[in-house]
Amino acid sequence: MSKYIIKRILIAIPVLIGITIIDYAIMCMAGSPLEMLQGPRVSEAAVEAKKIALGLDKPFYIQYFVWLGQLLQGNLGYSIKSYQSVSEMIGSHIGPTLLLMGASLIVSLLIAVPAGIYSAIHQYEKGDYAVVTLSFMGSSIPGFFLSLLLIYIFTVKLGWLPSSGMTTLGTEGGFGDVLQHMIMPVIVLAASMAGSNIRYIRSAVLEILQQDYLRTARAKGIGRFKVINKHALRNALVPIVTVIGMEIPVLFGGAVIIEQVFSWPGLGLMTMSAITSRDYPVIMGVCLLSAVVVLIANLVTDILYALVDPTIQLD
């Protein structure tokens, strides 16, 4: 087992290095920081001096290693718009995003797990068709369109929920206020994830239900309730672990668009404004961070998977 874990970590290291190379290459492709300097009042000599000061006269791979060295010290560079350090900007925006992502993950699991299991147990019955159709709807509706519909219904028509920000302007905020602001973005994020997860859990449970050990359990005559709750559900934990792992990148991506629509003051909103103002150090900092988080999430999923499922082939 520990051999497997070490092997998985060793495979992840070159991928991690590759991610930093891709990230750096994209940032270089996007444009050099010298371009901002150029203007009628800046002499060529000044640009040249800045080039040497920034180390841009050195070959590409040396620049990459300098960048990597700074990265290891937690320095992600500086925004070319606000001159703030990127790591500080990320630090100050990550809280609301984590709150949104965590809540959506929990809500989507609360929907998808019972619905997926119900659907599998009642395969080809009316309830199953209803759940599967709804799940297709969840994964087919664009997040921004669902957001607009919710805002139209709950903010414009009914006036129940606020449509933007995290707290009401001019107030202290507080738990209840934040909760009100969270409801719609969480519904949108959770709906799209639950859509695909329901079908994933459904097919995983269907597969479990066809196993020999469940036939044996049924043959013992211990009753449908015990068969499903004692034997099937425990094994359904394995696909749920996978689902959580699969959701992390979806959450990061979804948050960018949803935060933009709801003006939720998190990483996504920061990234979108960086994208519109072409603030590449900020964009690539967020990309790098999310790629590393996804990589770690995948690694943890794989290891958990091996721990939860004793039959998995460890080679």
């Binding site: 495979i11 070159p14 991928v15 590759g18 991610i19 891709i22 994209i26 492709m29 996007a30 159709t133 297709f136 709807m137 994964s139 087919s140 509706i141 664009p142 997040g143 921004f144 369109f145 607009l148 519909l149 805002i151 139209y152 414009v156 990148p249 979806v250 990061f252 991506g253 979804g254 960018v256 668009i257 933009q260 629509v261 990234t271 979108m272 994208i275 519109t276 072409r278 964009i283 690539m284 967020v286 990309c287 999310s290 790629a291 590393v292 996804v294 990589l295 995948n298």
Partner: protein, 288 residues
């Protein structure tokens, strides 16, 4: 019910017979055919030119303009027909590109194994680590947004899933006797890869491609909605929703955004249903 004799059925007949069981997919097939046909025939069906100013600003739906007019007086119904054309074009071309890239990489990785496999799969891991939407957004920020760039970006970002799928299938097929027989018989590599292995893995690729098509259309819509995709005056389903970011449009002029959004949902859902039914239909273990 009389049972039909299915002993001499061809592969396609079997698939179609199973596909027909899926009632929602049959309805979806009709929906896609009708909407696709309407998109193709847009120049014939549209009552007005899509970019021509023909009416009042933001006029409500009327006999003359079935779905009203937009902020600068263009006919929404005509624009919708042309938008569907663009969105389907983006989806289909992006899917073709990503499928082609994924199939080639997957075939190479699966068949040759060793270093080639390791390099390709690690590269796949790297690309998959970046959240998909973020990568598309970054690419859209670097390259000028526009119709052809969006197609290329979506096409070249969404291949890893197919590459993995094809690789897995090739690994399984390589162990089968008919492929081993081909190798022993000294058949040329190109023949083995493209005439023996590829046809045996077409069905799962097709199923996967339908979900890529659905996803690409959703992504085009999201990008265009954010203003990073298809640029006006060309209409796409996503950029027609862009106007709804303004509060007046959202609250007072629902005809400007609801029809486009509903069309996206209907198209994507129909494609997903078709994909789901195809998955069941081509599954060799299916008993239906």
């Amino acid at each position: 019910m009389e049972r039909k004799d299915i002993t001499n059925e061809s592969y396609f007949q079997t698939v179609f017979r199973r596909f027909r069981h899926h009632r929602l997919a049959m309805v979806s097939l009709v929906v896609v055919a009708v909407l696709g046909g309407a998109a193709l025939l847009a120049p014939v069906l549209a009552p007005y030119q899509p970019d021509e100013i023909v009416g009042t600003f933001s006029g409500a739906p009327s006999k003359e303009f079935w779905l009203g007019t937009d902020q600068i007086g263009r006919d929404v119904f005509s624009r919708l027909l042309y938008a569907m054309r663009i969105s389907l074009l983006v989806g289909i071309l992006a899917t073709l590109i990503s499928t082609a890239v994924g199939v080639v990489l997957g075939l190479i990785a699966g068949y040759f194994g060793g270093v080639a496999d390791m390099l390709i799969m690690r590269f796949t891991d790297m690309v998959m680590s970046f959240p998909y939407i973020l990568l598309v957004l970054v690419a859209a920020a670097i390259f000028k947004p526009g119709l052809w760039n969006i197609i290329l970006i979506l096409g070249f970002v969404d291949w890893p899933g197919i590459a993995r799928l094809v690789r897995g299938n090739v690994l399984n097929l390589r162990e089968t006797n008919f492929i081993k027989g081909n190798i022993v018989a000294g058949m040329p590599l190109r023949h083995i890869l493209f005439s023996e292995i590829l046809p045996n893995t077409v069905a799962p690729i097709l199923v996967y491609a339908t979900s890529v098509l659905a996803l690409s259309m959703l992504d085009e819509a999201a990008l265009s909605f954010l203003g990073l995709g298809v640029q006006p005056p060309t209409a796409s389903l996503g950029n027609m929703l862009n106007g709804a970011q303004s509060l007046t449009v959202l609250t007072r002029q629902p005809w400007l955004w609801i029809p486009a959004g509903v069309l996206i949902v209907v198209l994507v859902m129909a494609i997903n249903f078709i994909g789901d039914a195809l998955r069941d239909a081509v599954d060799p273990n299916s008993r239906r």
